[in-house]
């Protein structure tokens, strides 16, 4: 192990320690913001897996997010299904949606793939509106009770934070391993040259299929966390606007690597909080900031922290 990886390891430990204790240091309001950062970064990471590592830019993540979100909302409000099966069914729903979508979408790539994801996102959005008996239509579903885990009600700000932190860390750990695994390195190969990967003996379609399914699963997990966090689910969360916001977060942080998801979500949430003071100029401020980042750090803010090019292997 060289000096660089030792220092990386200690940095990581420090960050984890900080993440564990921060609700006891900062005011409750910031704990609330940080919780939002956590599940948004997981949603962004699901996009980065597809776009940054797989070369498949997607506007469909909100659809997966939405499917699991609505399943949680429906089961929690209209049935007596308990916490764990609710979560499993929600993520399963998102995963199956991803698999059905991937089955068709792996045949396309580039701009056509993007259009297909846009179509799926729109179907989810209009479905959420139209299928009001299940989804609550325009008003959505409100008043979802806080989850009960091991007999504990995750209602307070701190509880919600830890309730979100643990699965988000687990998600990032899996993603971290995934992109270093045979599957992940091959996925990056497909991003750089799918024809060539086929010539090396890889079944590119199966690979893309699986990447979309994994990504849907992770977006689904983020959807579960978001729904419990807000205690509600509405069509706005699966709108085109939401899809663009997710893309914005990922580009802001840097869509090439997972670090970008955390940085992008953190900057976005702080910016949104700051800009919301100026209600009228809210969008202008966020847009302007985005232009500045694109101008000065075209690879996203995460690029600032990367001194040296690092390889996966």
């Amino acid at each position: 192990m060289n000096a660089e990886s030792v220092s990386r390891r200690s940095m990581l430990l420090l960050a984890l320690l900080l993440a564990a204790v921060i609700p006891w240091i900062v005011p409750n309001f910031y704990t609330f913001l940080l919780t939002k950062v956590l599940f948004l970064s997981l949603a962004s990471a699901s996009l980065i897996l597809l776009a940054g590592y797989g070369g498949m830019l997607s506007l469909a993540q909100v659809a997966f997010y939405g499917v699991s979100g609505y399943i949680v909302a429906y089961l929690a409000l209209r049935t007596g299904v308990s916490f764990l099966p609710t979560v499993i069914l929600a993520i399963l729903g998102a995963t199956i949606t991803g698999a059905l979508f991937a089955f068709i979408a792996v045949r396309t790539s580039g701009l056509y793939f993007l259009m297909m994801t846009l179509a799926l996102g729109q179907i989810a959005f209009f479905g959420a509106f139209q299928w009001a008996r299940i989804t609550g239509g325009y008003d959505g579903m409100v008043g979802i009770p806080a989850p009960v885990v091991f007999g504990q009600v995750m209602a307070s700000g701190k509880a919600a934070y830890y309730f979100t932190l643990v699965p988000v860390l687990a998600g990032f750990y899996w993603l971290h391993r995934m992109v270093r695994s045979p599957f992940g390195v091959a996925l990056q190969g497909i991003r750089d040259g799918d024809v060539r990967m086929a010539a090396l003996g890889f079944n590119v379609k199966v690979h893309r299929f699986l990447a979309i399914v994994f990504s849907a699963m992770i977006a689904g997990a983020a959807g579960v966390l978001s729904t419990y966090f807000y205690g509600m689910m509405s069509p706005q969360l699966v709108s085109l606007g939401a899809a663009v916001t997710l893309l914005f977060i990922s580009l802001l942080g840097g869509i090439a690597r997972f670090e970008g998801a955390l940085i992008g979500a953190l900057v976005f949430v702080l910016l949104e909080d700051y800009a919301s003071v100026f209600t009228a100029r809210y969008n202008t401020i966020i847009g302007l900031f985005f232009i500045l980042v694109v101008l000065f750090f075209p690879k996203g803010i995460a690029e600032i922290f990367r001194r040296k090019k690092r390889a996966v292997l």
């Binding site: 995934m178 695994s181 045979p182 599957f183 390195v185 190969g189 010539a199 590119v204």
Partner: protein, 265 residues
């Protein structure tokens, strides 16, 4: 001279093309090509620009479907078989402009070439670290030494020179123990020194790996190939050993004349 062997496939035949044609709309890029490559052969494919050589490789590898005709690879009819399945039979190819994974390092590129050879289920393992597969990484190391890239292992492929990219491409196909290698202009665009490195590299390839090489550099073809096929406007113009080809009046007229005069050889 191969007419009699068209139907019969002896075990010595690695690749057999039966009346293979390819049209792009109205353009007949490959026209009724009949040929055979036998085990261990160094088979050269030459021809003017646009003669259809690369298209023929694309048909053999499966990157393009044939318009008519059949392709038999190692005794199996692969005419409609997808690319990755032909690869599994032991076919590997390089491209005229190296097609590599630019965002990955030399090490990762070589690793992927080896991983492609593993059973398909292993391609999908998403938990175990590729970095810990010492068996593959050792092979990567020795391949890098063979193609003189061991000092570049941790560099991004996007940062390599053209010559290094050509070397890497050869390394990627060689490390997988192929039975038939299709090399599309391995020496194109190389400097004099790099050309020598490439020539040595190609000569060092084990004799049980069959080579089918497109090359414009006549000097290289003559020294490397034991059999040469000449294409012109989509059709096979001549086939024979290097001496016969050099002496063939048709070939001299359409190809060698220009090439030899052109390079001043």
């Amino acid at each position: 001279m191969d007419e009699a062997g068209t139907e019969r496939m002896d075990t010595n035949t690695v690749l057999q093309l039966n009346s293979v044609s390819k049209n792009f709309g109205g353009l007949q890029a490959v026209c009724d090509v009949q040929m055979r490559v036998t085990h261990g052969q160094r088979h050269g494919l030459i021809g003017t620009n646009g003669a259809g050589k690369t298209t023929l490789f694309n048909l053999i590898a499966g990157d393009l479907p044939v318009s008519t005709g059949t392709i038999v690879l190692f005794g199996t009819d692969v005419t409609t078989m997808p690319v990755h399945k032909r690869t599994r039979l032991g076919l590997r190819r390089t491209y005229q402009t190296p097609a590599l994974f630019n965002g990955l390092t030399v090490r990762e590129n070589l690793y992927l070439a080896l991983l492609g050879n593993d059973p398909p289920m292993r391609h999908l393992s998403c938990w175990k670290s590729a970095f810990k597969d010492t068996e593959k990484l050792n092979l990567v190391q020795s391949t890098a030494e063979t193609v003189e890239l061991s000092r570049r292992l941790d560099d991004k492929v996007g940062d390599l020179s053209h010559g290094e990219r050509k070397q890497l491409e050869i390394g990627m196909v060689l490390s997988t123990n192929p039975r038939l290698l299709l090399l599309d202009e391995p020496a194109a665009g190389l400097s004099v020194h790099e050309r020598e490195v490439m020539k040595d590299l190609l000569r060092s390839i084990a004799s049980d790996i069959t080579l089918f090489i497109i090359e414009h550099d006549m000097d290289m073809v003559i020294h490397l190939a034991d059999r040469i096929t000449v294409m012109y406007d989509g059709v096979v113009l001549a086939e024979g050993d290097p001496k016969q080809i050099q002496a063939d009046p048709d070939v001299q007229r359409v190809y060698l004349g220009e090439a030899i005069n052109g390079t001043g050889a």
